[in-house]
Amino acid sequence: MRRVYLDNASTTKVDEEVLNAILPYLKEEYGNPSSIYSIGRNAKKAIEDAREKIAKVLNAEPTEIFFTGSGSESCNMAVRGIANSYKDRGNHIITSKIEHPAVLETCKALEKDGFQITYIPVNEEGIIDLDGLREAITNETILITIMYANNEIGTLQPIKEIGEIARKHNIFFHTDAVQAFGTIKIDVKGLGIDLLSLSGHKLYAPKGVGALYLRKGIKLKKVLTGGHQERDKRAGTENVTGIVGLGKATELAYENIESTNKKIQELREYYISEVVKRIPHIKVNGDLEKRLPGNSNISFRYIEGESLLLNLDIKGICASSGSACTSGSLDPSHVLLALGLSHEIAHGSLRVTIGKDNTKEDIDYLLDNLEEVVQRLRNMSPLYNG
């Protein structure tokens, strides 16, 4: 059966060139990077090469990049690390209502430890309220943590403005850039970012590797204790293959960034315009301009997202939804609810995220099947009187 993968915000297929870059570190250069003999040193060198590649695209120093096991781990290191290292300065953290659970749940955990957290709302398009952010700042505020781009609706936040506000008030600024890294050009120095989290498997590197940018001069208490890897910021033998893959994937992503984005965005625009033309009773969620090129999020009224996904899966199409049944919780997506969407509309959302390997044929295949499946489910729905 044909498989059409349109869930690239969830994860991506490892790029062939990335895979080839990794293989020697599984086969020949399998040494522990902390070992002094040659295959250990070679592994160590490969890690440092990857570090340089990531530092370069971020306009950072290699010594400001720390490898981790995932984007979530990077976010934990950043948010918990700042909270624990600077709690004598204050106990207030500002975040947004639409963060990924990696940040949201970490903030909630800190709240139980006595930190005060402000969750800034977003407007209907999913952009945070900058005035709300300014007003939320107190003398106790030590950290602003706002995501670069949202994972569900792809909305890009005003990072430069947030960086300026943070700088002006002498507050640390962390951004979860897991969705943006590899797709958006990010200059941490120019944007006033102090800490940035990223993940490999969103940009055609393997799962199980992430990184944290930590501006020079900032203290960060270790979360994972043990050995002295990663300049004593993160214990554990380095995931050499993952790191090599992340380095290669970063290089490739930024080499071709303009052409890839252009192609992906054209497909996205084609998809949305065709859905609008062919399927009635829909709502396009999120901002159409300030948005990741590959992201689309559309609610189909009168039907529920999980059954939509299951029926698309029968056709070999992989996508995702913000319905409660797919979120693993009892409520639909907190992001869609934060936009002011009703539960009913949030339950019927479909996220299609286009990647570099998708084609127009993929989108046409999706559109034909989507039209049919939506109609079939609506005919089955007691809410629909078509």
């Binding site: 009224r301 009168y302 039907i303 529920e304 999980e306 059954s307 299951l310 029926n311 029968i314 319905s323 409660a324 049944c325 009892l330 639909p332 009703s342 539960h343 009913e344 509309i345 339950h347 005919n379 089955m380 729905s381 007691p382 809410l383 629909y384």
Partner: protein, 152 residues
């Protein structure tokens, strides 16, 4: 993970639709929670000759509706009222624990449809109907105490 039987039922649901001049219609659930089931029955001489459904909900909600209508077709009212959600789950070769409430909804939708049938017959008091059909004042909605806003 869904069983093959659940996959079969949400891929090819049986008895989808409405029954014109149905003997009884029962609706349970809430769009806020993401599932609504509406069951239609045609009763002749105390036997459920036909049963259909319309469901807004996840794969499990569709599969439980589908299999429940299959089970009660051809049964007497009395037999249909004995149907438990566990039988629905067993018939589907199991449901993930988070989805068991869908089978409860299916059982309740059938009870509501039969209660509606009795009301239309006009021979029993509401108290009797409640008793016979085992209607609860609180409908199954284990995870949701929100009001339906009625918004689109």
């Amino acid at each position: 993970m869904y069983s093959d039987k659940v996959i079969d039922h949400y891929s090819n649901p049986r008895n989808v639709g409405e029954i014109e001049n149905a003997s009884g219609i029962g609706q349970v659930g809430n769009p806020v929670c993401g599932d609504i089931m509406k069951m239609y029955i045609k009763v002749e001489e105390d036997i459920i000759k036909d049963a259909t459904f319309k469901t807004f909900g996840c794969g499990a909600a569709i599969a439980t509706s589908s299999v429940a209508t299959e089970i009660i077709k051809g049964k007497t009212i009395e037999e249909a009222l004995k149907l438990t959600n566990k039988e629905v789950v067993d018939e589907l070769e199991g449901l993930p624990s988070a989805k068991v409430h869908c089978s409860v909804l299916a059982e309740e939708a059938i009870r509501e449809a039969i209660a509606d049938y009795y009301r239309k017959q006009g021979e029993k008091s509401e108290a009797e109907i409640k008793e016979i059909c085992g209607l609860k004042d609180e409908k199954e909605c284990p995870h949701c105490d929100l009001e339906n806003s009625g918004d689109e």
